[in-house]
Every structure is written in structure tokens, then in C-alpha cells.
Amino acid sequence: MNAVPDDLRAGLDDLDRRIVLATQAGLPLVPRPFRAVAEQVGADEAEVMRRFRRMQATGIVRRIGAVPNHYALGYRANGMSVWDVDDAQVDALGEQVGALDFVSHCYRRPRHLPHWPYNLFAMVHGRDREEAERQIAVIAQLLGAACRGHDVLYSTRILKKTGLRFAGPDRD
């Protein structure tokens, strides 16, 4: 069985898939990284650059960038703040919360009543809990009366972190 999902097959051609597989662990740290990728996938540098520009334009590649480790940067208080926001207003307010400087990710997710009333998730990062609590207070003020309740869940231990890897055509 071919392990590449159908949607991947439909949206990207074979060269795109080879580029994804060659770079999902990272971009080579050499002066001409796209030439290095090109050599790995059997294409030329200009073609690989064209493919990256296209994948960026269509949103398949968000950006070619660095993912920081918050702990190593001194952010010790990493909190998942969760909010019960009026459904009619959650999208407009979510955009504003997501735009705050200290919010790294902001998502809408389904509630699980009565156990879990929260539909808006915003990750905050403070050097200590006081700083994170100040950030949460800013979000609370922004949401105002549209928010019926909130909570914050600090991470205390990473139990597993393997990252997301896509299976290559030869794996199952």
C-alpha cells in the first residue's frame, strides 16, 4: 500500500512530494540550500525554488522559518488559555486574540459539554507565571462580555514530542 495520502497525491505532483519528504526535517544549512535540495530530489535549483514559491503562494508551506523552543528562550510559563466565547462573536474576537504579540497560536475547537465549556484556545508564553497572568488579563479584557468563563492550563512536563512526520512512498 502506498502510504502517501490521497489528498497529497491530488494536490501535489511527484516532485513536490519528493521536496516535502527531503525537507520535512529541515532545510540544509549550506550557502545554496535550494541547490542542495535539488540534488537530493533530482531536479534543478531554479525548479525547486519555483516549487517553494508556489507552495508558499498556495499555503502548503506557511514559511521557511525557525521554530523556537520556548523553554530554552527563557519562557518558563507556557500556558494554554481556554475561553468560553459566544459562538456569534468567536471568529471576530479570535482574530484579535490571535493578533496579540504574546499569543503564539490561537484556535477554535469544539466544546464537550458539560465537561469542557471552552471553544477558544490561545497559547501564551511568559518568563514567569506573573507575566503569563498579565497576558491572560489582556485577553480577558479584549473578550469582555462575550466570554462566559476561562481557565489556564500550564504545561508541567513534555511526555512525548516526536513532531509530525509524513510517511514517504516507501514506508507504510
Binding site: G26, P31, P68, H70, G74, Y107, P110, L153, K161
Partner: protein, 150 residues
Amino acid sequence: MPELDALDRAIVNRLQAGLPVSERPYAEVAAELETSEAVLLERLQRLLDERVLTRFGPLYDAERLGGAFALCAMAVPEARFDAVAEQVNALPEVAHNYRREHRFNMWFVLATEQPDDIERIADAVREQTGLPVYVMPKEREYHLRLKLEA
């Protein structure tokens, strides 16, 4: 914790915004940061080696590549926490798992190739642990861009 100097911090901040697609992208960014390509590459390697950066490269939108993802939450009795963590972590579909301070104390991300597999794996966890698993897939993402100051 690794010591970071001003150049390290400038590199972390600049590279969160993204590398240009060009023949010499590192040289372009190095010029912006008033350093050399060789120094930038060396610093970048060190930041990765010291785990200040967990990754550097194209950030793919996994859902647009056809995979399915869902955040899942469990309220695990403290006495069973480690044993349940072991059961959950043993599943290859579990990409991350965090302990959080809350009644819902275990939060993990399932990554599967097909959307139907999310519920199937969640059911497997329910069956193995005898505990409820609350599946919370992302319904919408707001304004995603990283902008933490290093």
C-alpha cells in the same frame, strides 16, 4: 539554559519571520543582520544543536498535505498517570503529549493519514485505558504567525 548573545537573539527573531526563496537566502538574511553568511550558518547550527530552535526549514501546513490532526484531552487519575502516559505514548499516531496542571491533565495530539483514523485511535485509547478521551480538532485557526521575542 544556553546563553544567547545579541546576534543569537536577532537570528531567532529574524528567522521566525521566514527565509526568502533565493539562491543565497542565508547571505541575504546575514546582510540584514550585519553579519556574514558563514557566521549565520554556524550560529544557526549551534542554535539547533543546543535545542534553542526545535526546527529550521519549511513549515508545512500538515492538513493541506492531507493528514488529519486532533488535540485530545484526558482526565487521568494521578495514581495511574504514568501507566496511562506509557499506553498513550506507545501509539505511533501520538505526536506530542503534554502534562498540564488541571483536572484534564493529559493533552496529546493525534496525527493520522486519514481523517477516519482519528476516532479509531481515540477509541483504542478509550478501550485500553477505560477512560474518556475528549477529541478537540482544530475548527479554525486565527492569525497564525510566530512573533515571540527571543
